[in-house]
């Protein structure tokens, strides 16, 4: 990972299935941009599909 471009947080849909996530947009070696997010309730990390 070369660089963290942006970081943000989402808290939503508490009235249904709550979503609490921390998102990170990173630049990988080679220049690819990838968005990862962490489910704050479980600590698991995922990669967002384009």
């Amino acid at each position: 990972m070369e660089e963290i471009v942006e970081e943000w947080r989402i808290d939503d849909e508490w009235w249904r299935t709550p979503i609490h996530r921390r998102y990170v947009e990173v630049v990988l070696a080679g220049g690819a941009h990838v968005v990862l997010f962490e489910e704050l309730a479980t600590g698991e990390w995922f990669m967002q599909q384009p």
Binding site: E6, E7, W8, R9, D11, D12, W14, W15, R22, Y23
Partner: protein, 1109 residues
């Protein structure tokens, strides 16, 4: 250290979630030394915030977030008093300069023009600079920043940086930082706070959905992305800007600069300086005015003369001490204006010679002899033994309130004249903030959560009598269909969120009668905006904030009873030639007191409610001071304080002692209380007695008493009053009062955190109650006519009032097109209902029909009426007139007349009532107008009256059901023949339902049958089981036990059901049962199917009951 400079309270309507006081408290908990409040387009909560902040040791910074014409935002902070004045003017311009008062916006140039003393921040994500940056790019943003620096200066304009973990923050903050560095501008970090704690983010989401009138699901695009808009601990906020320490440092620098302005101290409001024409100093002018009246009211040989002189000297001294002479002179000026207005309004009418006052004082000001001399009070304070301390004392910390009641038409004109007299820049109306109640909160939040409307409405109805989510959830558990929802997702959220939103302000509205007058232009002291009423401008502060600001607030209230009295006196003068002089009637007329003590008080002022009537029969007032007690005792203060039963028992003991010719000494909790409470038989009935008790028993100084007085009149007063316990206990101990006694007395004191009347107010209202009873007794027809014409007012519906009239021998005659006026009139000793009472008839329609009749003679038939009536009178309107017999004089049955309506007016038009009928030019006859139809029967007539007028004049619906009612049901006027403790059944139409907070879950129902009213008391257990009937059914059957006690009659309910006919306990076999024994006539029985149909229709058409609690 980081200081928050951008925070919204609940006064950013439907956006902020936190009351300003709570925001201040949270800031202190987190260790902030200062906080800026920057609500949208207003300073609504700023005074409350500043007061709370000062009290907590927090520096309040006054500001606002404004929207520019292009929709972008800027944050403005007041640095100096001039800056504050500019802020007020700018906010006023934003509101008054716009067509749509709900979308205030400010021209950028106006801000540039009025920037002195202000600090300007570039705004949130929707701010001016960020918006240009996002839409037009970096270069455009730099140009704009350059312009802002030129126009505002480096010292005044700051770039606002916000990091709330929203996507895009990083780039935006970096870009803004670069722009600032390049342009030589400073940056400042802010939090864009919308709630005090993270947990309130849910409520914020709901408010957003409400604001956009959509559901939570539908508000995705406008909701904030996360829950990062709370007030953070300063260290956490500082850590977010570790790369820009200057952004943090500038928060402190700005806060220090803004310390130069303190809203609680530097407002600059000055008292209107109105002196006499010869510029006599105000204290002397006031003294001279009063002394001129002294001889008139207390002639030299009057035994009360010397006491009056002492009282006047004392009050003038206090007035001068507090520099209030100008204040009283302003009021005197206003009352003179009121006299002019009244003379103009009454000109040409017969009541002009009736010596009617233009208006009357109410509240504690009625205890003042100065007010009495200036005409602001009509009650003699010396003769009535009224205590001045509630109104004026040594330690007065706020401007005293003088409230004045006027008849409606005088008040409307008076408000207009006040604007003219003092100038539109110097006068403004006080605002109020309607708040969410639990019931409305449940409805609205439920919609946002997209919950099913039917079930939502059930819960909303429950919520109307509770004040906490826990209580609502508790009640839900007992209702089939709702019990399983108590802990279900969404429903649980509903209750919690409804409780959080309850009490938050929804929007701004006009206060009932408060006006502010200032010598400096008001627009520099508090922002003004348009109210919903045309031509009215309100200031952005409510009465509490105006009080904190020490504004002179005038309260002009419209009192329906005064309008009734005006009209009644006029009608009497019309009949007798001379109006009665209500100031000179016999105030000891025992016939009046006999009527009052019998509980025959429906329609009278203040003493007509169910609770009042019950109390009257126990208290039995026989003098004006007794009536003052009567008016005051049915209030939460005395009820919660446990004063009622002791008072009633002691009244009885007093009566017995008098009959036996021996003196009566009422017991008091301690001899020190004898002077303060002797008159009310040892208990606290009046609010001012609270002060007297604290002074007498606990040695409260004037200062402590003043603090207590203020606490009593504020919101959340119970908590404030409880804070006085230690001082009370210690003071009482110094007087040798044992602690248990002090405790017992203090409980009565705290009870007056609930609503209670000062004695002066009760005396003023008691007097009006007597005068209304006098008019009613001697001129019942005129009284009922005025009562009908001045609705809505009072406790009873027109339906109940009409039957009360009939019970008193006054006939109510239905509208007649050839006899009725616009409103009700007196006709041959009866009340003729006016055409304006018909549904789909407005005042203009009625006036046109009446005028046409007066010009060209009575209407000769339906065709004649249709030709001469205004074209905008709809077909429905004609049918309504026919249905209630308004055209019976044409000699046809109502069905025949309806047929003719169809012939003359053609098919029903589309539903737009504004489409005019076709006008008929030629007086030709219609073919088919000779067809004949049967007349309508009694049940159809009655139902038509309810449908068209909302009340029935033909009688009580139960009269038509007499043969079908439960045979054991006893008529209300025959209950008195039954024994105490007897099992009884009663039926009736519900007039009122009450579930007072002070009643511990009991429900009181007032029902009416053919004979009169019955009181039903429903125990909480019975309510729980029969809730739906108790709360919602218009016609009830009740089985219970008769309780006869001390002149009162109640049915203690064991079962409450909707009234049914033909069910068990229903259908009467008249050969075996005798309904006559239960007091019912079977003169006009409906047959069983008709009775069933009639009852079903009645359930739909019955007038709504008056419900409280």
């Amino acid at each position: 250290m980081y200081i928050e400079l951008h925070a919204h309270s609940a006064f950013s309507f439907l956006d902020g979630t936190t009351p300003p006081e709570a925001l201040a408290q949270r800031a202190v908990q987190l260790g902030y030394p200062a906080l800026a409040l920057t609500d949208h387009a207003g300073l609504y909560g700023s005074m409350a915030f500043a007061q709370a902040a000062k009290h907590l040791g927090l520096q309040p910074i006054t500001g606002a977030e404004v929207t520019l014409l292009d929709g972008t935002h800027l944050t403005l902070l007041a640095e100096t008093p001039i800056g504050y004045a500019n802020l007020c003017r700018l906010l006023t311009e934003a509101h008054l300069g716009r067509e749509d008062r709900r979308d205030p916006r400010l021209p950028f140039d106006s801000l540039v023009e009025r920037q002195e003393g202000l600090i300007v921040l570039s705004g949130c994500r929707a701010g001016l600079l960020p918006t240009v940056l996002a839409h037009d790019g970096l270069l455009a943003a730099r140009r704009l920043a350059d312009e802002c620096r030129e126009r505002f200066g480096r010292e005044r304009f700051f770039l606002e940086l916000q990091r709330n973990h929203v996507k895009g923050d990083r780039d935006r903050v970096r870009a803004l930082g670069e722009i600032a560095d390049a342009e030589g501008l400073a940056v400042v970090a802010t939090g864009d706070v919308h709630y005090d704690r993270r947990e309130r983010a849910r409520l914020h989401d709901v408010l957003t959905a409400l604001r956009h009138r959509t559901t939570l699901d539908g508000s995705h695009d406008v909701r904030r992305a996360n829950a990062e808009f709370s007030l953070r601990p300063p260290a956490e906020a500082a850590a977010l800007f570790a790369d820009r320490p200057d952004a943090i440092a500038h928060t402190q620098i700005i806060a220090e600069r803004c310390a130069a302005f303190d809203l609680t101290r530097d407002l600059g409001y000055t008292f209107p300086d109105f002196r006499g024409a010869d510029r006599t100093p105000a204290p002397r002018a006031l003294a001279e005015l009063c002394r001129a009246r002294l001889d008139e009211r207390y002639p030299p040989d009057d035994p009360l003369r010397s006491e009056a002189e002492r009282r006047l000297a004392d009050e003038l001294r206090l007035v001068e001490l507090h520099r209030l002479s100008g204040f009283f002179l302003v009021y005197h000026d206003l009352f003179d204006l009121a006299r002019e207005v009244a003379a103009d309004v009454r000109r040409g009418s017969r009541r002009t010679s009736g010596n009617l006052l233009p208006g009357r004082g109410r509240g504690s000001s009625v205890s003042s002899i100065i007010c009495y001399f200036l005409g602001l009070s009509h009650v003699d304070p010396i003769r009535s033994n009224l205590f001045i301390g509630r109104f004026l004392n040594e330690s007065l910390a706020s401007i005293p309130d003088i409230d004045l009641d006027f008849p409606r038409e005088i008040r409307e004109e008076l408000i207009r004249r006040v604007y003219d007299r003092y100038g539109h820049e110097h006068v403004g109306l006080v605002c109020s903030y309607p708040t969410y109640r639990l019931r409305s909160a449940v409805r609205e939040i439920g919609k946002a959560l997209d919950l099913p409307p039917g079930e939502l409405e059930q819960i909303a109805k429950l919520a109307s009598s509770h004040h906490s989510a826990a209580a609502v959830r508790e009640e839900m558990q007992h209702i089939p269909g709702l019990a399983d929802k108590v802990d279900a997702p969404l429903w649980r959220d509903l209750c919690e969120l409804a409780e959080q939103i309850a009490g938050l302000p929804r929007h701004i509205s006009q206060h009932v009668g408060g006006m502010i007058i200032s010598s400096r232009p008001l627009v520099e002291i508090v922002p003004l905006e348009r109210s919903a009423m045309p031509d009215r401008v309100v200031c952005q502060w409510d009465k509490d904030s105006c009080d904190d600001a020490r504004f002179v607030k005038i309260d002009f209230l419209a009192l329906g009873m005064l309008s009734l009295v005006e009209e009644c006196v006029e009608l009497v003068a019309k009949r007798e030639g001379e109006p009665p002089d209500l100031s000179r009637i016999d105030f000891d007329d025992q016939a009046i007191y006999d009527r009052i003590c019998a509980g025959d008080t429906v329609g009278l002022f203040q003493i007509e409610s169910r609770a009042q009537i019950q109390m009257i029969r126990r208290v039995r007032p026989r003098t004006l001071p007794d009536l003052a007690v009567q008016v005051a005792i049915v209030r939460p203060g005395p009820i919660v304080g446990g004063a009622v039963n002791p008072y009633v028992r002691r009244r009885e003991a007093q009566r017995r002692a008098r009959d036996e010719g021996r003196p009566y000494e009422p017991p008091v909790d301690h001899p020190l209380l004898r002077e303060a409470l002797g008159e009310t038989l040892g208990v606290i009935i009046f609010q001012d007695q609270v002060l007297q008790v604290c002074q007498a028993l606990a040695r409260f100084t004037a200062g402590q008493a003043e603090a207590l007085r203020r606490a009593m009149s504020r919101r959340r007063s119970r908590e404030l009053l409880e804070g006085f316990w230690e001082e009370f206990r210690d003071g009482a101990a110094k007087n040798g009062v044992p602690e248990p006694t002090a405790q017992r007395v203090f409980e009565q004191v705290v009870a007056f955190s609930e609503f209670g009347f000062p004695k002066s107010h009760a005396a003023a209202f008691g007097l009006l109650a007597y005068q209304s009873a006098w008019l009613f007794h001697y001129y019942p027809v005129e009284y009922y006519t005025a009562l009908f014409n001045n609705q809505p007012m009072g406790f009873y519906s027109l339906d109940a009032l009409g039957r009360d009239a009939v019970r008193h021998g006054v006939e109510i005659r239905l509208p007649d097109v050839n006899r009725s006026d616009v409103w009700c009139t007196v006709e041959d000793g009866a009340v003729r209902v006016g055409l304006g009472f018909l549904r789909e008839w407005n005042e203009e329609h009625a006036l046109a029909v009446v005028e046409a009749r007066e010009r060209h003679g009575p209407y000769r038939g339906l065709g004649d009426l249709v030709r001469r009536a205004p074209p905008t009178l709809s077909r429905n309107a004609f049918e309504h007139l026919v249905w209630v017999g308004g055209c019976d004089a044409f000699g046809l049955t109502r069905r025949e007349l309806l047929w003719q309506v169809g012939l003359w007016l053609g098919p029903k038009e589309d539903r737009d009532p504004r489409r005019a009928r076709r006008q008929l030019e030629l007086p030709l006859n219609q073919p088919h107008d000779q067809l004949r139809f049967a007349s309508v029967d009694a049940s159809e007539k009655l139902l038509a009256e309810y449908a068209v007028l909302g009340f029935a004049a033909s009688g009580h619906p139960l009269t038509l059901l007499a043969g079908a009612l439960p045979p054991q049901a006893v008529r209300s006027d025959r209950l008195v023949d039954r024994e105490h403790g007897a099992d009884v059944e009663v039926v009736g139409l519900v007039v009122a339902r009450q579930r007072p907070q002070t009643a511990k879950g009991f429900v009181f129902i007032l029902m009416e049958d053919e004979g009169g009213m019955t009181n039903v008391i429903v125990h909480p257990d019975v309510y729980e089981r029969d809730r739906l009937a108790v709360r919602g059914e218009p016609l009830l059957w009740v089985k219970g036990t008769l309780a006869k006690d001390d002149g009162t009659l109640n049915v203690i309910a064991a079962e409450v059901r909707p009234l049914a006919v033909g069910r068990p306990g229903g259908w009467a076999d008249r050969s075996r049962h005798a309904p006559e024994a239960a007091g019912r006539s079977t003169a006009q029985p409906l047959n069983r199917p008709s009775a069933f149909r009639f009852l079903r229709s009645m359930r739909a058409l019955a007038p709504g009951s008056k419900d409280w609690g």
